[in-house]
Symmetry: C2
Subunit: 663 residues, 2 copies
């Protein structure tokens, strides 16, 4: 009977469970520039032979792989790493084989130690060495041939033959001449997107330029330039502007989302497009492209980036509507379908039909919107409601942009179901809005952080925590007063390495909502507001302090390495973050109305400390230093002073007069 | 600029995380005949449109798919199922699409409820109906066309037009006419191996036929037939025999593994092959092929299966050695390499070289060994040391056998590293030996069971628990006496749906080990033993009782649905298993020297009970019944009587005189 045999019959090593992989390699994992990317896999083989393996890596587009040896980590797990030295897309894979020489060396060493005759073993070793010599060239080959001759030379002692075959020089040479003829190659190539560091760590500030005019006038981009130092002095990295395009007239909304607007009402910036232009135009009331370019320059001069809001929807007045009516949903009555979610109707907004017959021209134009603003110097985009646009579109669009401009960062305003949020992240978004805005208790926050910091999720999903947005004034901020604003600020800024606030509403503690809602009353979405930036009540100083602490402490520049510590008080929420020697320990009083005291039950190894070690904790807010000893330590947090203590953990300075020093 | 667009640009639904999948679909999941196979996946799409989906399934080799609708289970998870109506390999995949008609219906119903004019909506609905009509034929098409006409007929009331478009009949017809033009097909086909039920549930009994002779003679297969009722009356399903082939003479081992054998020493059955034949021969001292065929018939007449031990290694006298010297490891001195693991040497055993130049002829012959015995009526194989043979070989060999004989079951004697055990299971082994043999404390057993019953492992790894084997007399059996033998028996038989014992050593409580080892003294591996099967000390009755309980209680015929319940005593180990209405609750006293009492803290929902419910527990060992109430109940277990209580949980019989009955 004719049998079919597997092609890989002689490739005895099986490579499994490679990491980092998102959905088995279907989507790329995410890292940032200069990360040391740990890569690992299981190498499984029968018997007791020694294995060899290597990780292969390269930038996408490069022809040749670089390689780095795999090292056994126990339990058949092997790992290696590379430095993500350039932004852009990388790829990795793995190769492994039976290392006949290492197997032989171990076995022969054991026999030698037992005093057995190893003459035949030395002949076997000589054969392995001369085979290896034939796989390489030049000096390396000569060295291995010489070792083979000596190992086989029965005129020499077994001792000297073994030494010749296993000298450190020969062992190292053999590592450079592996027998790959029966090597297994992992059956996937895993992708890794390497982003600029801002994709992981950044403080975002959102403002409506039109509220920054003087004397009650419509603000301009130049007014924003005038206030840039205000933002920069608070220590923000990203200045994020709602859509800056012309605003439609048709069905324009009035103040507080009223159905009809007065002649001077400015409308919602998300009702994009008028006869003055669409997604590639600037609202004339905000200024010109020259003004915009100056804004970009001035922002960057302060080491910030500008972020634009891209909302793929149009007002009925948008040029697309008459130029490309087939991009929209056509109704049998000849009208274009406006956005609706019964009973809500949004007559001022037409959604795109991403599946229309002419979808390729639509997608190409939407991609071109991004490329246009990239051409104007924009590197950061906040995408409005991405979950109402095709996932396939985002995967394609972001892929196309990042292939040419890998430095570009996309923040998904994905307030939607968890799996859709995750699908958007897999599709290419660099960051995502989260449920943080509504997680207000210790139990909720710990559970949520544990979920999003699980490695298989953190590989692709990067959170950005917002205590407020123009759309959301959460209930706790409506009633909690200054301590709650401070608490939410610090929680966002320390739990997540990326966070943002919508200001000046935040620092001025705007807390008046439309009745029984989480919408702002007199929302800037529909009208100009005037903000007293010099108010003595402002949280300006606290925000500046928190952002400075974030910049000074690498532990706060990442989200994943977090540990939660039990406390004896339900009101005291304690967690720590660590990056190398930098350890930050945070104790938040979640009850902003009362002082609470309690005992922390610290996980000392997570803080880099030993059992019973004495150490110093230095509250970066109050500048007070405490001496802690061991795991159980008392704290007291008075929210009327400040609702959170942000300790940096320091090892005790060792005195040479301390007896222990001499041990 | 010419853009490339994705082919699936209009396929808006993303299908992810399909289950059951082993390593993303790389290996098949395992089920048994008549299982209801639950299949599920995430369906993720943008926006709020209604989705439709179906699971596609078929036997491997069938051309057309059967389909079953996917049902939403919450959180974007969808599922369906099929009945594994035949053994063999099945495959499944998924398809999903935007359901424009369901989306339209929901939206229109909402508008109608709000009293809005829905004339235009009805025209849209009519269009969807007539499109659907064109996708189908005959009556179905006519029905949909009629509905379309009525929905569009402005001479009718909106109410009657809507009713015509959304009658139950029309909705059901629309489900049969889905628009698949933009359907997403999952990008993997997942495999499922459906085995006979014995692959999941069976009680195994191992014996050495040669010890069953009369008057000190070498036992034969006919002697085994004479003793079959002894095995059958204990309730075993599988009679497993160590290798039955001719035994080599060269370097034959004597009693207690002595290096030299006397002229009458029988040698180890694992030193396979002599001039009398190899892996396809029967040791003449055991009998003839006619005897073997009679044994198979008699075993099967008692509703048992015979399991043969296949050990792929040879004695130096095996015919393969001179017929195919190239299948072995050749040494430079012209000799064949025997098995060794310094300082241990096994001169009586030659391993195969699975990577030899002639590997294809070797693999074909080894496959043929299995097919030969399958031809002799063997359906169950226990594979000796599979972890020292190529994983690629097993995947190929088992695949070839099961393609022609899907009823065949393979038990891996894989006492090796965890990832190798798992790799063997993925490669096709139906069952595996486990670490149970050495897990003796409550903490160890609970942790181990939690590990192997995790769904992603249980999908491919089926345990078979052995309290002892000819190779292993674990320390606790050496010193624990009768209560420990009983404890280990019940733990194996209730924790795992497949378990086995090596007898009669087990039921006769053989406990004498070679000094400081877990090897039996005077092991049957190297000499004949004589067993007093009628001993009044035998565990025969207890084993028969336990196997009967296993047959009566479906809860014990599966391993995965297990729950652990806390107790107030470190010595009381409590767990339950459930299959439908059948619930078994086990309380084991792990300290076989002292009686222990304590309180069980039962997880009532896991027992199918409500808070504070009163119920009966009936100990199937002592036949005593207790009334329990709520979660906390007292138990006391005296190991001198019996170390385990095996309760069946019964709901209270409701009396019509009980007031509650009338509520």
């Amino acid at each position: 009977m004719a049998r079919h045999f597997p092609q890989d019959g002689k490739r005895r090593v099986v490579i499994e469970a490679a990491s980092p992989a998102v959905d088995g390699g279907h989507y790329p994992a995410k890292r940032v520039l200069l990360d040391v990317v740990d890569c690992s896999c299981d190498l499984v083989s029968d018997g007791h032979d020694s294995l060899g393996g290597r990780m292969l890596y390269r930038r996408v587009g490069e022809r040749t792989w670089q390689s780095s040896p795999l090292v056994a980590r126990g339990n058949d797990r092997w790992s290696s790493s590379f430095v993500a030295s350039e932004i852009g897309r990388w790829e990795i894979t793995f190769e492994a084989w039976i290392d006949a020489f290492a197997t032989w060396r171990l076995r022969t060493e054991k026999k030698r130690a037992l005093g057995e005759n190893i003459d035949v073993e030395l002949l076997i070793g000589a054969h392995l060495l001369s085979q290896a010599a034939s796989r390489v060239q030049g000096e390396l080959s000569a060295l291995l041939n010489q070792a083979a001759d000596r190992a086989a030379d029965r005129s020499r002692s077994e001792e000297s033959r073994f030494e010749a075959a296993t000298s450190e020089q020969v062992v190292r040479a053999m590592e450079r001449a592996p027998d790959l003829s029966s090597a297994t190659r992992y059956d996937h190539i895993l992708s890794i997107v390497v982003d600029p560091p801002l994709a992981r760590f950044g403080s975002w500030y959102e403002l409506f330029p039109r509220s920054f005019g003087t004397g009650g006038n419509h603000g301009t981009l130049s007014d924003v330039v005038r206030r840039l130092d205000y933002v920069a002095q608070m220590g923000f990295d990203v200045l994020y502007l709602p859509p800056i395009h012309p605003i439609g007239r048709a069905f324009r909304k009035g103040p507080n989302n009223m159905l009809t607007a007065g002649p001077n009402d400015p409308g919602s910036p998300w009702a994009i497009g008028s006869e003055e232009g669409g997604h590639k135009a600037i609202h004339p009331a905000l200024g010109t492209f020259d003004d915009f370019r100056r804004l970009v320059r001035e922002v960057r001069a302060r080491k910030m980036e500008i972020a634009l809001d891209i909302a793929f929807q149009v007002s009925p007045d948008h040029p697309y509507v008459h130029e490309h009516p087939n991009w929209f949903f056509q109704r049998p009555d000849g009208k274009i379908q406006f956005a609706e979610n019964p009973p809500k109707k949004y007559q001022d907004i037409y959604p795109f039909n991403f599946e229309c017959d002419d979808w390729q021209s639509l997608w190409a134009e939407l991609l071109d919107v991004f490329l246009f603003w990239v051409g104007e110097g924009v590197r950061v985009f906040r995408i409005d409601n991405p979950h109402t646009k095709s996932l396939r579109f985002w995967e394609w669009c972001i892929g196309e942009i990042k292939a040419a401009h890998p430095e570009v960062i996309f923040l998904a305003e994905a307030f939607t179901r968890p799996k859709v949020m995750h699908a958007l992240a897999k599709s290419g978004f660099s960051q995502s809005y989260t449920y943080f805005t509504w997680r207000s208790t210790k139990v909720e926050l710990e559970a949520y952080l544990r979920e999003i910091t699980e490695p298989h999720i953190a590989n692709y999903f990067r959170p950005n925590f917002w205590p407020n947005t123009p759309d959301i004034l959460p209930e706790h901020l409506q009633y909690g007063g200054r301590p709650t604003f401070l608490l939410r600020l610090v929680l966002a800024a320390t739990l997540s390495s990326s966070y943002g606030i919508y200001g000046p509403a935040f620092e001025l503690m705007e807390h008046v909502a439309k009745e029984s809602s989480e919408e702002y009353k007199d929302s800037e979405k529909y009208q100009l507001r005037s903000w007293d930036l010099e108010s003595s009540d402002s949280l300006f100083d606290a925000i500046a302090r928190i952002n400075a602490i974030r910049r000074d402490n690498p532990a706060l520049q990442q989200t994943e390495a977090i540990t939660f510590h039990p406390t004896t008080s339900d009101s005291l929420f304690c967690f720590s973050k660590r990056a190398g020697d930098n350890v930050v320990l945070i104790v938040a009083n979640m009850d902003t109305h009362h002082e609470h005291s309690g005992i922390l039950d610290l996980d000392l190894p997570a803080l880099g400390l030993k059992d019973n070690e004495t150490f110093q904790v230095h509250d970066l807010i109050s500048d007070v230093r405490y001496t802690f000893c061991g795991s159980r330590n008392h704290v007291s947090v008075d929210p009327r002073v400040f609702p959170v203590q942000i300790f940096v953990v320091r090892k005790k300075i060792r005195s040479e007069h301390d007896f222990e020093y001499y041990q």
